[in-house]
Amino acid sequence: MRIFITTVSAGFILAGSLTGAGMANAAQVGNDTYTPQPVPTPPRSEVQPLDCQGTTGDMGCGPGWFWRDGWKGWACYPC
């Protein structure tokens, strides 16, 4: 009888663990099937400064401006 109870208890414990594992993995099931979608990027010329592509660039000049050494020294100038 004792052996029977021990066996049954062990079975419940094992079953509980497996059930929990299944529930824990339930939220991640989607990851196994997720396929990253490519993010479309605009065509970019390698010689054209980043700032002139509509981003702020390293110096935060803003869209349409370009950081360079010009008439006023190093400053933001229109593209």
């Binding site: 050494d69 006023k72 020294g73």
Partner: protein, 181 residues
């Protein structure tokens, strides 16, 4: 009464001597030659940068009292030539502005009146061969004529706000150091 007259004559004579000495002193002070070499305005001051390097100043350019200094951009791509000349009277300065030019004429000029000195005119265009951008700023104030020439890469003319600010600074320096010419 005789003594009083003698004393009074002495006082008048002393006062006269003092007046003569003072006038002579003023005359002597006014005769001091103006150090034109300190007149050109440094572009680094108006642009808040360290981009510009001054060349040697040339005194009395073209045989006229005044000074000319050329400032070169540190990368060699641009230059600013600043010339201030002093004439006998305002009419002569204005006449010289109409006839005088510094360097070769501006090709395809866009001319605009600007608030610099008297009759400030900014002309922007290119060199005759089109290889450079060229801007000229001319203005008078009293007896002085100021001519500034900006040369840079083709397609990158001097910004108007910079040219105007530079001219206004030079005009203020003329007023301060030459007393309005």
């Amino acid at each position: 009464m005789k003594n009083f007259t003698r004393v009074l004559s002495g006082v008048v004579a002393a006062a006269g001597s003092t007046a003569v000495v003072t006038i002579a002193g003023l005359t002597s002070a006014n005769a001091q030659p103006v150090d034109y070499s300190t007149l050109p305005v440094h572009p680094n001051g108006t642009t808040d940068s360290n981009a510009w390097i001054p060349g040697a100043s040339v005194l009395n350019p073209a045989g006229q009292p005044g000074v000319e200094t050329t400032f070169a951009h540190r990368d060699g791509s641009r230059s600013i030539t600043d010339r201030v000349t002093v004439y006998d009277n305002p009419e002569a300065a204005k006449a010289a502005m109409q006839s005088n030019t510094t360097g070769e004429p501006v090709a395809n000029p866009f001319t605009k009146n600007v608030p610099v000195g008297e009759g400030g005119i900014l002309a922007t265009g290119t060199s005759q061969d089109g290889s450079k951008s060229v801007g000229t700023l001319n203005f008078t104030n009293g007896n002085t004529l100021t001519q500034v020439r900006f040369e840079g890469p083709a397609g990158d003319p001097v910004p108007e706000d910079m040219a105007v600010q530079y001219g206004q600074s030079q005009d203020a320096a003329n007023q301060q150091k030459l007393g309005g010419g």
